[in-house]
């Protein structure tokens, strides 16, 4: 044990006590994250059912079955969903943050109100958009038909051509608010003198945005995009409730596929193999992302 630095009656050194304080959290992470993670990766080389006890070693058979199956369409759907559900809310949130950063009336009230869609449960967000996108009685079809934009109601969530876009719109509604809050907080740290100086040097709004605002927000934008990508790569709730992965598998992402394979198909081996490949995709994207942003900071 190291010599205590402060003259106090304590049985433990500072460092050991500090470590001790983290034990409850570490125990939870070990039991609910680490052990299940290792367990699932192990299961990927076994044939195992959710309902029948016991398992047999099958090597890479599960991976072969997965790669011969829907893997590539699941991969494509996951990437399309992740890009759409990250880019759209960032654009919307950024636009709103810029607008609210001006001396607009009731800014803090507006900021609070705009957060509303973000706090409500994802399942409720799904109900809201299920109803709006409803083919027979939905609001969106009502408006579009009323305005004469389309002649006949569209089955937004039942058509492979529109289902993914509809999900992304709903997800954008739910996640742009927190991005707006983050970026607005960042905008408010830009010294007014900096923008004024740029204006005096003859920089227009676009130049000011590119040379003052954007560089200043790069750190926050980086964090926001990274978190959105990580969350979207594993998002489950809204896809599951809005389409369940359909129609014809057109919105089946890894989250839905792994869940369905394990808990509806009872095939734990195959679900684990699919999940292991999913994890590789997440890790790879995060590593690439961190590399890029590190290089950007050095430049």
């Amino acid at each position: 044990m190291t010599t205590p630095t402060a003259p106090a009656r304590r049985g433990l050194s500072d460092g050991a006590f500090g470590l001790l304080l983290t034990l409850p959290a570490l125990a939870l992470f070990g039991a609910v994250v680490l052990y299940p993670l290792i367990g699932a990766l192990t299961t990927s080389v076994f044939a195992q059912s959710l309902v029948v006890p016991g398992r047999t070693f099958v090597g890479l058979d599960n991976f072969r079955a997965v790669l011969d199956g829907e893997f590539w369409s699941i991969m494509r759907n996951t990437i399309v969903y992740t890009i759409g559900s990250t880019v759209a809310p960032v654009v919307v949130g950024f636009a709103l943050a810029l607008a609210l950063n001006s001396r607009i009336r009731g800014r803090s009230v507006l900021r609070g109100l705009f957060l509303f869609p973000w706090v409500i449960p994802g399942v409720v967000v799904s109900f809201v958009w299920l109803w709006i996108f409803n083919a027979n009685y939905g609001l969106l079809n009502g408006i579009l038909v009323g305005l004469g934009v389309v002649d006949d109601p569209i089955t937004w969530l039942g058509d492979p051509g529109t289902a993914m876009a509809a999900i992304i719109i709903a997800k954008t509604w739910a996640s742009f608010p927190w991005i707006m809050v983050m970026l607005l907080a960042g905008l408010q740290t830009i010294p007014a003198t900096l923008t004024e100086a740029a204006s005096l040097d003859g920089a227009g709004p676009v130049a000011r945005f590119r040379h003052v605002t954007l560089p200043h927000l790069r750190g926050i934008l980086g964090i926001v995009v990274l978190l959105e990508v990580i969350w979207n790569l594993q998002h489950f709730d809204m896809i599951y409730v809005l389409t369940g992965g359909g129609p014809a598998g057109s919105t089946t992402t890894f989250a839905v596929a792994v869940y369905d394979t394990a808990f509806k198909g009872f095939d734990l081996g195959k679900a684990s193999a699919l999940g292991a490949l999913w994890l590789v995709l997440i890790m790879a994207l995060v590593v690439v992302y961190v590399r890029i942003s590190e290089r950007g900071e050095q430049a």
Binding site: L12, I104, L110, Y137, F176, D237, V241
Partner: protein, 296 residues
């Protein structure tokens, strides 16, 4: 853009007493249009949910829908209240979310205090490990988690939900509270040590009382996460222990045509506690959300 007045610099001291209100340039037309358009996008659906929830069921099933209802009713809410299954989901949600909030506050307070005020080997690695746990997809973890909970007889129990919710709420709560504890001066803790206070007394009589707002915000955040969770409650709990999100999906979806007015009424009821809690503590949550990001 408006030309800067010649005495632009001299206005700065005058504006100093109320810098928050006066900051930023006057809103441009672009800003006003952006706020208006996104306002319709953000609040249009909310309006539509409210209208549907107060519309008699018979008036909803027609096309095109009416933007402004002819008749209003509260019958959609009273049918919810008369449904014992929904009341059980509600009770489950309240129990599980409250206990999740309490457990999360306790666990994350100790961990955040350790990260904020102690120096030991591996501290930074632990901090990043806590954050990295967010990267592991829950659907994948559930495969083994389901088997483990089943083996120890915790499937279909409150405890399984509370442990799962707490674990996945911890990373953000630890970081929020660490930001809070960072602002507490070391001198306060040193002074207590000099007075002979033990570590337990420092935490429970000094640190936690001065951090009460942060603890309440953390608890509220954890409550919201528990209240909103879907996948764990869907998988680990049966009908008796299920919370509202999967409960509502099982009750309302998958029938021939969904009872939209009742479902929209239920949506409002489920959202209400979260919105109220959020409105009360909005300032702390926004501060907590943005603290780490703006500094870094």
């Amino acid at each position: 853009m408006t030309a800067a007045p010649p005495d632009a610099t001299s206005t700065a001291p005058e504006a100093a007493p109320a810098p928050r209100r006066r900051r930023g340039r006057p809103p441009s037309w672009g800003a006003i249009v952006t706020v208006a358009v996104l306002g319709v996008f953000a609040f249009g659906p909310v309006y539509w949910v409210a209208v549907t929830a107060f519309t008699p069921t018979a008036d909803v099933f027609r096309f095109p829908p009416r933007l402004f209802p002819e008749r209003l009713t509260v019958e959609n809410f009273s049918t919810l209240w008369d449904n014992p299954v929904l009341l059980r989901y509600l009770a489950n949600s309240l129990i599980v979310s409250t206990l999740t909030a309490l457990l999360t506050v306790v666990v994350s307070a100790y961990t955040a205090y350790s990260f904020a005020k102690f120096r030991y080997r591996g501290r930074r690695s632990l901090m990043y490990l806590v954050l990295a746990s967010q990267m592991f997809p829950q659907a994948l973890l559930l495969i083994t988690l389901y088997l483990v909970f089943s083996q120890v007889g915790l499937l279909n129990s409150y405890l399984a939900l509370i442990l799962s919710f707490t674990t996945f709420t911890l990373p953000l709560c630890i970081w929020m509270l660490k930001g809070f504890f960072d602002t507490i001066p070391d001198e306060l803790i040193e002074a207590a040590k000099v007075d002979g206070a033990g570590q337990g007394a420092i935490i429970h009589r000094i640190l936690l009382p001065v951090s009460l707002p942060g603890l309440v915000a953390t608890g509220l955040f954890a409550f919201i996460r528990g209240w909103n969770d879907f996948i764990f409650a869907l998988t680990l709990a049966g009908p008796e222990k299920q919370t509202l999100p999967p409960g509502l999906v099982n009750t309302f979806l998958g029938e021939v045509e969904t009872a939209w007015p009742a479902l929209m009424a239920a949506s409002l009821v489920v959202s209400l506690p979260v919105v109220i809690g959020f409105a009360v503590l909005q300032r702390y949550l926004v501060a907590g959300l943005t603290a780490g990001a703006v500094k870094g």
